[in-house]
Structures are given as structure tokens and as C-alpha cells.
């Protein structure tokens, strides 16, 4: 007989017909080693409470429907083993909640429509380039492996919404597209068959591309290891290449780049004015004064690193890498 442990699944319950707000309900059940969160939810639904509502279709970590928060972290319920989570948190209580950044419909089921609408708006489909894609089906439209390499992993996105559900930028900025949406834009921006190609970075720019805070959480929790933040980084580079620089974020990146590539070190003192102009200086004045009082004001002139010529050679040759 398989080893088993008694575990309390503390599940968020919400029925809009009766409840003003969500509350937790505990279910104490025997969990055999290897049992997933989704299997436990089905067990409860079939044996204890048939009203428990959640989504879970493929049970193979490919449809993305069963995403929930497990002890605060978004995961695919079908891929998450309960014993492993218990060991991770050193407790026999697992808190299961619906994804964040989305409206709860009932219990663990959330309304995905806002994220979906944002995805639709960013044109998440191939717009054929007539110069690359043949007119008839008689000829193939080839993508070479070295081209595919650039966006391959972004084609693995299963739209599970885990990245979207914990993104701080999504939480605070209405117009921010979201991590998986930027991943999709990047995927087509790099596809040689696409008609818009790098022009797609303009779409990303319009959907608050520079508001990503680079917390790396989307890269960390993606069950398919896609790293949406990498898409953001690349789209930012593309948008700068397209001349979209009238933004404090872009100006900051450019100032940073210029400073580092000219001396090998960052000149912290110039960043506020280079990024936000006089407004940046005024905003940073109290902090600058406190640094002055503490005798740690960054110097306005930075001494170049040793072997600056070698460094600059590396910079100029790396800039040519495709």
C-alpha cells in the first residue's frame, strides 16, 4: 500500500449567490505519495463536497486550465504534487486559492476574459509576409532552425495564466498587456514569416512595455519555463531600434547603455536627468540631499575601468552578433 499522510487542504470558497467575499474551508484527507493537487480536488468533489468548483481538463500539464495558487504560488494543479509542497513549506496545511489578478467566478474558477481580451488586442496570430509566404500550398514556407531558435520556447505557452496572475504590473496598471501577451508578441516579432516582424514592438510599446518591473516572477513560475520577461527585454530593444524612446524607461536604458559602454561603469549621478529630465532631478532631490549629508553622493564623473580599450572592443564586436 502506498505511503499516505493526513493533509489539510484549506480551500478558498466563494459562491456569489450567498457569499459577500471568499472564505476558507478545511478538508482533511489522506494523501498518498505522488497525489497531485488536482487529484485531491477531484477526490473532495467526488467524495466530500460535490459543490466544490474548479477547472481541470487535460490532467497532463498541457491545457493550462487547472492553474491555482498553492500556498500563495500559482501552479498547475495537475503538475503539483502535494507531498512536495508539504515538504517545501514544512506544514501539513496547503492553502489552495484561485489565481490572482482575475475576478473569481466561484471557488477556484476565475474569469479569464480580461487577460483574453488583452491577448486579442495584441494581434496574437501570424500576419503573413507576402514576400516570404508562397501564394499557393504547393510550396513550403520554411523556417530554419537558427531562426526558430530565437522564438521556439515562446511557442510552448499554454495560456495557463500563472504569469499574469501574479504580475505586479498587471495588478497596478490597467493598460499593461501582461507577461504571456508580451511573450506572444515577441514570438511573432521574431517569426520570419510574419509581415509585421519587429514592427510588432510598437504594439508592445503601446501596451505599457516599459512598466514591467523585472521581478522575474513570471520567469520563475512558468510551468513551461518560458521566461516571459525575456520577451519584454527583447521587445524593449526592438522598440528602441524602432525609435520609440520618448519614455522614461527607454531613456533610462539608453543612458545606462551609453554610460556603461563609454567607461565600463555606471554613472549613477546622471541617470535622473537623462531618464526624466529636470523632473527626474527634482524628484530625486530629497534622496540626493540625504546622500550628500551621509557623504555618499555618487561622483558626477566616473573613472574608466582598467583595460577600457579591451572592454570597448568586446562591446563593439558583441553589438554585431545576430
Amino acid at each position: 500500500m502506498a505511503e499516505a499522510k493526513k493533509v489539510i487542504l484549506r480551500i478558498s470558497r466563494f459562491n456569489p449567490e450567498f457569499d459577500e467575499k471568499p472564505h476558507f474551508q478545511d478538508f482533511e484527507i489522506e494523501i498518498p505519495k505522488g497525489m497531485t493537487v488536482l487529484e485531491a480536488l477531484y477526490f473532495i468533489k467526488e467524495n466530500i463536497d460535490p459543490t466544490l468548483t474548479f477547472r481541470g481538463f487535460c490532467r497532463s500539464a498541457i491545457c493550462g486550465s487547472c492553474s491555482v495558487k498553492v500556498n500563495g504560488h500559482p501552479k498547475l494543479a495537475c503538475k503539483t504534487q502535494i507531498w512536495q509542497e508539504i515538504e517545501r513549506f514544512g506544514t501539513n496545511i496547503l492553502k489552495i486559492e484561485p489565481l490572482g489578478n482575475m475576478k473569481v467566478i466561484r471557488d477556484l474558477a476565475v474569469d479569464f476574459s480580461e487577460a483574453e481580451e488583452k491577448l486579442k488586442k495584441v494581434k496574437p496570430y501570424l500576419i503573413p509576409d507576402p514576400e516570404v509566404i508562397p501564394d499557393t500550398n504547393d510550396e513550403e514556407s520554411i523556417v530554419y532552425p537558427e531562426e526558430m531558435e530565437k522564438f521556439d520556447k515562446f511557442t510552448d505557452c499554454i495560456l495557463c495564466g500563472t504569469c499574469y496572475s501574479m504580475c505586479p504590473a498587471v495588478m497596478f496598471i490597467d493598460d499593461y498587456a501582461g507577461p504571456f501577451q508580451f511573450g506572444r508578441i515577441f514570438r511573432f516579432a521574431e517569426d520570419p514569416r510574419d509581415g509585421l516582424k519587429k514592427e510588432r514592438s510598437k504594439i508592445a510599446y503601446a501596451f505599457e512595455l516599459w512598466k514591467c518591473i523585472r521581478c522575474e516572477r513570471c520567469a520563475d513560475i512558468c510551468p513551461k519555463h518560458i521566461h516571459p520577461v525575456e520577451a519584454v527585454t527583447h521587445l524593449r530593444a526592438m522598440s528602441i531600434e524602432k525609435g520609440l524612446t520618448l519614455n522614461p524607461g527607454a531613456r533610462h536604458a539608453i543612458a545606462f547603455y551609453k554610460s556603461v559602454t563609454s567607461t565600463g561603469m555606471l554613472n549613477e549621478a546622471i541617470l535622473p536627468i537623462m531618464s526624466k529630465g529636470i523632473k527626474g532631478v527634482l524628484e530625486n532631490m530629497p534622496v540626493a540631499l540625504s546622500f550628500l549629508l551621509k557623504g555618499k553622493m555618487p561622483p558626477p564623473i566616473v573613472k574608466p575601468i582598467e583595460d577600457i580599450e579591451g572592454f570597448k572592443k568586446v562591446v563593439s564586436l558583441s553589438a554585431e552578433v545576430e
Binding site: P168, C215, A219, F256, S275, G295
Partner: protein
């Protein structure tokens, strides 16, 4: 004990100079074998990558190669440098073609990257190699101190690049705090973001996140916060008042660099760990 090339990063040489001073005094006191190569460059902090991704890779391949030439691992006190260096290392490990291309570039400057160099944060080195030594040096000074450990995003994420500690429930800082004789008070926000990297593009969000993180520490009755990241420190220390204004809250929460707390615990004076250079008064906690 291993040999290290010390990579302080830009902020600890400028606005977070107390981080640099305290790291050196702590490493000296512990007898860590380190050099500080003068040809190390800035890692780009993710910003260089946003303009030219391969330039960021090139400059970090160069930094790794410099340490490798000295046959030393890299020890850093900046979480973003830590991520950038480790990110470059992963890219070069996983893509042989790219590694050869980068090596062709590096060969123009007499360098080559093989992949031997490891990159570690100071507190990681201390826990992995100096735990015993630290415990023999710890005084009783921090006995009654409750410390909130704030990890900083790039200290723990993403796990497939960082590979140290558990990003969902990290414990290295708690372990360190206990080793130093203080008491960890851990809240759920300790693994969240302070927003530093959006300081110019979404400053209001950055300040709000920083405020909420500080508030959790305050609500948990912490005497101070520690962080291994000088950028999180900038937001939580220098920008504390502004951050708390965004959440309509006011209190004083000292924020120490990890190595400042280590230094205090092993008998260094507040001046030796440059505590007087923190913007939020911190001297009173000891």
C-alpha cells in the same frame, strides 16, 4: 577555502558605499581570500540588455573570463549583478555556438571563457564555507534583535538561473540571522519585489511595493530589515519616507545590508560596517 574575485557592482561603489565598506571589512575579518580585479565592468543590470542584448552577454562573458583567468570564483554583493552574471553563464553553457562566438570576441582581448567560474553572493559563501567560523566569532550583541529578511528578486529568481535557495520559501537569510544570534521574523512579502528596476518607468508602483514590504516588516514588529541587494536597500532605506507616503503610513524601519548585520554580530563596530551612512537611522538598534 575557495578563492574569490570580488565583484561589488556599481551601486556599492557609489550610492550604497556602506555596502562595499562593510563587505570588505567582513571578508577581511573572516579571512576570505579575495582580490578585486580592476578591469571588471558593470554587468549592465538588465538595462544594457534592453538596448543591445548581445552586448550585455559580451560584457558579462568578459567579466566571467577575467575571474577565470585568475582561477577564482566570483563573489558579489549585488543581487542584480548576481543574476546578470549567472544569466550569461547559463546562456554560454547552453549554447555552444554562442559560446564560441563570444570566445572569438574575447580572444581579441586575450581572454577566454571555459565555464569553470562559479558566481556566488556573499551570504551564500558565508553559509556554505564560513558557518563554523562565524558561530565561533558571534558575540551576544544581537540577542534581542528581531530581523525581517528581505531577499530581493534577483537573489532567488528565476530558479533555473539562480539555483540557490527555494524561491517560494527561501531560508538562507533566516539561517544566517539565527547564526548571528538574532531572531528572524519572516513574512510572505519577503520574497516579493521592491520595484527598483521600474524606478524611472513606473516609480509610483515601485514606491508602493516598497512601502507595502516595509509595512509588513513593521507590522510583524521587526527591529530592522536586512537585504543582500543594494538596490532593494536603496528603495527601502533612501526612499523609505517616499515609499511610506504612498501607502499613507509613517514609521522608521532601519534597513541593513546583510554584511552590516554580519559585521555587527562578529564584533565589528558600527563605524567599521559604515552604519552611519545608512539614510534611515540604524545605529540605535545596537
Amino acid at each position: 577555502m575557495k578563492k574569490y574575485a570580488f565583484y561589488p557592482g556599481c551601486a556599492p561603489k557609489g550610492a550604497a558605499i556602506e555596502s562595499y565598506i562593510s563587505a570588505k571589512t567582513v571578508m577581511d575579518k573572516l579571512g576570505i581570500d579575495y582580490t578585486e580585479p580592476v578591469s571588471f565592468s558593470c554587468c549592465g543590470a538588465g538595462n544594457v540588455e534592453e538596448v543591445k542584448p548581445y552586448v550585455a552577454l559580451g560584457i558579462n562573458a568578459r567579466n566571467l573570463a577575467i575571474a577565470e583567468k585568475e582561477e577564482r570564483d566570483i563573489i558579489t554583493i549585488c543581487s542584480t549583478c548576481y543574476l546578470e552574471l549567472k544569466k550569461a553563464k547559463k546562456q554560454l553553457t547552453e549554447n555552444e555556438r554562442l559560446k564560441e562566438e563570444m570566445n572569438e570576441i574575447l580572444s581579441e582581448t586575450g581572454l577566454r571563457y571555459e565555464g569553470k567560474v562559479e558566481v556566488k553572493l556573499l551570504h551564500q559563501v558565508i553559509l556554505d564555507e564560513y558557518e563554523e567560523k562565524i558561530s565561533s566569532m558571534v558575540t551576544n550583541k544581537l540577542k534581542n534583535l528581531k530581523v525581517y529578511p528581505f531577499y530581493g528578486c534577483h537573489t532567488i529568481r528565476p530558479r533555473d538561473i539562480i539555483g540557490y535557495d527555494d524561491p517560494e520559501n527561501p531560508s538562507s537569510l533566516e539561517r544566517l540571522i539565527k547564526l548571528l544570534g538574532a531572531t528572524p521574523v519572516s513574512g510572505a512579502r519577503r520574497i516579493l519585489c521592491c520595484g527598483f528596476h521600474a524606478s524611472f518607468s513606473a516609480s509610483e508602483i515601485a514606491m508602493k511595493l516598497t512601502g507595502l514590504n516595509l509595512k509588513e516588516a513593521h507590522d510583524m514588529d521587526a527591529d530592522c530589515v536586512i537585504t543582500p541587494c543594494p538596490l532593494c536597500h536603496l528603495n527601502m532605506d533612501a526612499n523609505q519616507k517616499k515609499a511610506l507616503n504612498t501607502i499613507k503610513s509613517q514609521f522608521i524601519m532601519p534597513v541593513l545590508h546583510v554584511q552590516q548585520l554580519i559585521g555587527l554580530a562578529i564584533g565589528l563596530s558600527p563605524e567599521e560596517v559604515a552604519l552611519q551612512k545608512n539614510v534611515i537611522p540604524a545605529l540605535y538598534i545596537v
